[in-house]
């Protein structure tokens, strides 16, 4: 099952309708490498869906996060929430200068997540494994 399917299945299983807007948001989330914010999703979809409302983007994100199929990573120094549709255990790296979030391959994070699942006693809904700092590009550039 590809990543878009994971999101749309989750909606269907809750009896929620898979509207064109929701499908577009799911697709964008599933295929983006960007860890987008609500605003970024809104702007990227507006050309295709001129009537799309920012409220719909926020509503859909909220649903997906509460279903546990999208992670809310929080701010990357820009005071805006970034989202991640990749819920496989992995490390996120945020640059507080250019506000980009990238993935980092990691040997240890899967074991970490298993440990948390096994020992915490929590009914886990999502993960936020993110380190923040200054990316190699921004360490050189005067500014971006």
């Amino acid at each position: 099952m590809d990543r878009t399917e994971t999101l749309t299945q989750a909606l269907r299983q809750k009896g929620l309708r898979l509207t064109p807007q929701r499908l577009a948001i799911c697709r964008l989330l599933a295929t983006s490498e960007q860890h987008p914010t609500a605003q970024m999703i809104y702007e990227q979809l507006r050309p295709q869906y001129p009537s799309l409302s920012l409220a719909t983007v926020y509503n859909t994100l909220d649903i997906l996060v509460n279903l546990g199929v999208v992670n809310a990573l929080g701010s990357a120094g820009d005071d805006v929430v970034h989202y991640d549709a990749d819920t496989d255990p992995h490390v996120n790296l945020a640059c507080t200068v250019c506000h980009r979030v990238i993935d980092l391959p990691s040997q240890h994070v899967r074991a970490l997540e298993e440990e948390v699942t096994a020992t915490s006693g929590y009914r886990l809904l999502g993960a936020r494994v993110l380190y923040y700092g200054i990316c190699p590009d921004c360490q050189q550039q005067p500014e971006e």
Copy 2:
């Protein structure tokens, strides 16, 4: 060096003044198990420092985060930023019902952080290793 010292030293090393307000905020952060928010710090210190301003709390937190001695964990389902003065590698667990954040001992997270430091190429400033879900208490209680 205890944790309060770590924070106050960081301020001094940048040539910043260790005012009574800043000292109180550092002490509270260093000794709290709570992962407090700016508002929580403000309310807990107001009895002792009636003139304390919320802006000072935010300013001081911002300084400490930018010095890398306090981590900004983000929201625990309450849409407010929680802070953590414990920068040793560890796992945080947030309950999205009661909005409490606790620490979880972990075997793997230290190795994870070393891996990120070694391989990312980022100048790292802070960590946000947090899993969110429903805590054992809230899984039982009707609500809190």
